[in-house]
Symmetry: C2
Subunit: 185 residues, 2 copies
DNA sequence: GCATGATGAGACAATAATGTCTCATATGGG
DNA sequence: CCCATATGAGACATTATTGTCTCATCATGC
């Protein structure tokens, strides 16, 4: 058994995700307290608030990329990539939320990486369209919006204890593809 | 023609919605500047930052209630209420976003009002289920999550200029009920 | 014109947040 | 045991934000 305990740096990052996704104006003192480390230790690892925020964004993007890559290693189609990615991303909903609701327009590198991730989703959506997954008459922009929105809905559902991550992923996928209407007779 | 110009107070509220939904840690100086009023004027109308945030939350809930009520005045069924509410709420997406992503747990009154609004949606969902709109085997909690998520997706789509509010409402409704899958042969 | 009320600009003080520093301690490897 | 490193606690200076105040200006209605 490896120790469950995180390093100071990771504790801080984890605590910051939790706090900042709930309240972007939380102070660094709150973050340090939540992480169970001294305020000075936080500054030893992150030179400034901006540095912390920026690191969080990079970590979030990195974790999401990694989760998607690992989940889709053996995917046989764009459809499968979308389905597996959704399942892999739902547990990272706080990371996703953090990036979307933070003013990272200032940082060119992060904005660019985030744009790339969004573009990748849109490309997958278009590939899945050619596979017959989506109605070709609906814009890929809209489908991408819905994909991201259902990602968030799944995360919310898991966070509130209503479903497991896998159940949420199944529900989100079903909602995306066939909707929630009663079965046609 | 009434003057298009808003009162100082309304200018501030509007600016605060725009800024705070993008960056919850925006300073009051930024809000005042965005509103085109002096910082002192902001404090004449709102005694403190908390007062402003609290007022924003109350206004947001109020506007959403009013929009729903007005849109659904002649609705004949729960299904219609949901459809019309969705269309009415999408243009108020910034209000909705503001409430969901702010730490208003501190204020009992606002938390209660927000909970009531959410409960009302869930009740409508359940009523619509008995009308045969939704698959009865899917939990109302999940349907409510998806409803809110699509509300947000519609707002995003409108904000980015991809669709009009009406188009977004139609897309969201279609996504909710029948999904985005290709038509079955 | 005059009074009234709202406003913008800016000075000001109080407060909160941030970033730096020191020192005592502990933890773990050698 | 000894040393190197990381840490917590807390003092401290700096900065940003917040909230108050005054005064000159402007618009509006009388």
């Amino acid at each position: 058994m490896q120790p469950v305990r995180l390093s100071s740096k990771d504790s801080i990052l984890e605590a910051a995700f939790v706090l900042f996704s709930r309240d972007a104006s939380a102070s660094l003192a709150e973050v340090a307290a939540q992480a169970g480390v001294g305020r000075a230790t936080l500054h030893r690892h992150f030179s400034s608030r901006d540095d912390l925020i920026r690191t969080l964004a990079l970590v979030a993007i990195d974790e999401m990329d990694e989760a998607v890559e690992s989940a889709c290693a053996n995917a046989q189609s764009a459809t499968e990539v979308l389905r597996l990615s959704l399942a892999a991303l739902i547990p990272l909903g706080d990371r996703h939320g953090f990036i979307t609701q933070h003013p990272i327009e200032n940082d060119a590198e992060i904005a660019e990486q985030f744009r790339q991730a969004d573009d990748a989703t849109r490309e997958m959506v278009e590939a899945a369209k050619t596979e017959g997954l989506f109605d070709a008459s609906v814009s890929s922009d809209w489908i991408t919006h819905v994909y991201n929105a259902l990602l968030y809905a799944g995360w919310e559902s898991v966070k509130q204890g209503e479903t497991t991550a896998q159940q949420a992923a199944d529900l989100a996928w079903r909602s995306l593809t066939t909707g929630l209407g009663a079965a046609k007779p």
